[in-house]
Amino acid sequence: MLVVRYVIARVLHTLPVLLGVTLFTFLAIQFVPGDPIRIMTRGHVSDAEVAAIYDRLGMNRPLAVQYGSFIAKAATGDLGESIIQHAPVAELVGEKVAPTLWLLGIGTFFSILLALPLALLSAAWPDSLFDHTVRTASMVGFAMPPFWIGLLLILGFGLQLGWVPISGYGDDVLGHVTHLILPGLTIAFFLAPILIQSLRASLLDALDADHIEVARARGVPEWRIYFKHALRNALLPTLTVLSVNISWLVSGAVVVESVFALPGLGSLLIRSVGYRDYPLIQGLALIFALIVVAVNLTADLCYGIVDRRVLRVAA
């Protein structure tokens, strides 16, 4: 029962974010200087046609009504119609969701694969040479622009060594995975430093706690203390860091997609900005928000499973 209430509470918490993102986008688009339809059609249509487009899109209704109807339609999966491509936004966006989700998934997987062992070893021997090296490397890594890392990887692994494809998305699952190795690594290199720093710090905190002292006094072997008593408590803050950074990660994905010419949501967003295709931009902003919210929700739910005390506090 507690779990159900917790899940419901968490799902309800996501609503303000979705409303905030759609409201921000909606209001921003109202500020388009001049006449958006004329800008989009570049003045090639007559006044009567412009009026007809306004009528068709319902853009002459009060703002609150327009926003309300956008939300109501979005809830049923109708995101309007792209003005440039004359196709439903939901359909255009739907085609591009898979590459972005693959990229985020593989990127996160690589990041954890890279960050976990480094942080564990670093915290096991604090202030050792290894620890200092890892900390310096993560400091430098944090400052590396993701698109620059991507280009360096293309230069090294793709062009010089020729091991992996450097652009595009491939045709089948195997193709997707090989095409996503470099983009995934790019994301890993800029996400891992944040993970390493937070996991190391929380491991050291966890090792400082009273129950560790008690376990030592009871004669529990050091490796067991480390993995069982400390790591479990340290993973939770890291999970939070990961979920807080997901919006940053999604932002990185937009840029990384453009480096590797991945046909994902980010590339579509950049292109639709070029065309000033506002319904499509609005739909994409909502989808990006949905991804961020979904990941946060998943992290929260995992949190609830790992640490059952959370259930009682939240619900």
Partner: protein
């Protein structure tokens, strides 16, 4: 030497001596970071004297020349000296990064501190806005604003000013909520000081630490943001020298001339590392001071 000067240097606060003590207590990372950053700022400020060439001068005799003694970082496809462009780029990236970080910080910290101290409905509103903004896909929101008012630094400033204050408000609010229950704050209230004075003079100095430390990371993230937006063509437009835009310029020539896109990246990494070192040093400095006082 008078004995009391030795015993209680704090009672005779000679300015130089206090500065000396302060600098002496800094960690190695803080000093190294400040040194690096000052060097970069110096090069940016004195760019016309430091840079060997005009950053926009095209010299078609030296197209795609690899790094050498005349052109330390090589030249690009238009024969422009990359070292000079990187130095001029520092002007834009540093000043824009500074504005994107510290303008929102000022009102973010104030809003958060006030909400944390006041409590009630003000706190509820600020709290829910900051919680919501954490899950905002930041870059996507900026791109939306760029789509509305067109590429360039103004769109970036507007969207950052609208959104970035929430991180500072969040930090400052959390700290103030802890601080407001402490005796000295209660004492100030009992003594009848106005809320403005209690929050600004008494509370703020003790709550601003985490925001200052975070601002160094935020500075890096903002430089990455600006260069990322310029890289995808939505930020600074060519031929203005900006690090991200320069990396984008070099993308086409990556096979023939690796130096065009790698060199500006090193500038970003160096600046970011300097800021990270400063942040790390500040965290320790403020951490120990707070630790010894409380």
């Amino acid at each position: 030497m008078k004995p009391e000067a030795v015993l209680t240097p704090e009672l005779h606060p000679g300015a130089l001596m206090r500065i000396g003590q302060e600098v002496g207590s800094w960690s190695f990372t803080l000093k190294l970071g400040l040194l690096l950053l000052s060097a970069i700022v110096f090069m940016a400020v004195f760019a016309p004297w430091v840079a060997p060439f005009d950053p926009e001068l095209q010299d078609f005799d030296v197209i795609l020349v690899p790094p050498n003694l005349t052109h330390l970082f090589g030249t690009d496809n238009l024969g422009r000296d990359i070292f000079s462009r990187v130095i001029y780029g520092a002007r834009l990236d540093l000043s824009a990064g500074f504005i994107m970080t510290y303008v929102p910080m000022v009102y973010g910290v104030l809003i958060g501190a006030y909400a944390g101290y006041r409590g009630g409905w003000v706190d509820a509103v600020v709290g829910s806005i900051t919680n919501m903004a954490i899950a905002f896909p930041f870059l996507v929101m900026i791109i939306v604003v760029v789509a509305v008012i067109g590429p360039g630094i103004n769109a970036i400033y507007i969207s950052v000013f609208l959104l970035a204050w929430t991180m500072y408000a969040r930090l400052s609010r959390a700290e103030m909520m802890v601080e407001r229950a402490k005796d000295y704050m209660l004492a100030a209230k009992v003594l009848g000081y106005p809320t403005r004075i209690i929050v600004l003079r008494h509370g703020l100095p003790n709550t601003i630490g985490s925001s200052v430390v975070f601002s160094t990371s935020d500075f890096i993230l903002n430089i990455l943001l600006l260069s990322g937006l310029s890289f995808i063509g939505l930020g600074i437009q060519p031929p203005t020298p900006e690090w991200g835009a320069m990396i984008a310029d070099g993308k086409e020539f990556i096979l023939q001339a690796w130096w065009i896109c790698t060199m500006p990246g090193f500038a970003v990494v160096l600046t970011g590392t300097a800021l990270s070192l400063i942040g790390d040093g500040l965290a320790r400095r403020l951490g120990t001071r707070q630790g010894s006082a409380g």
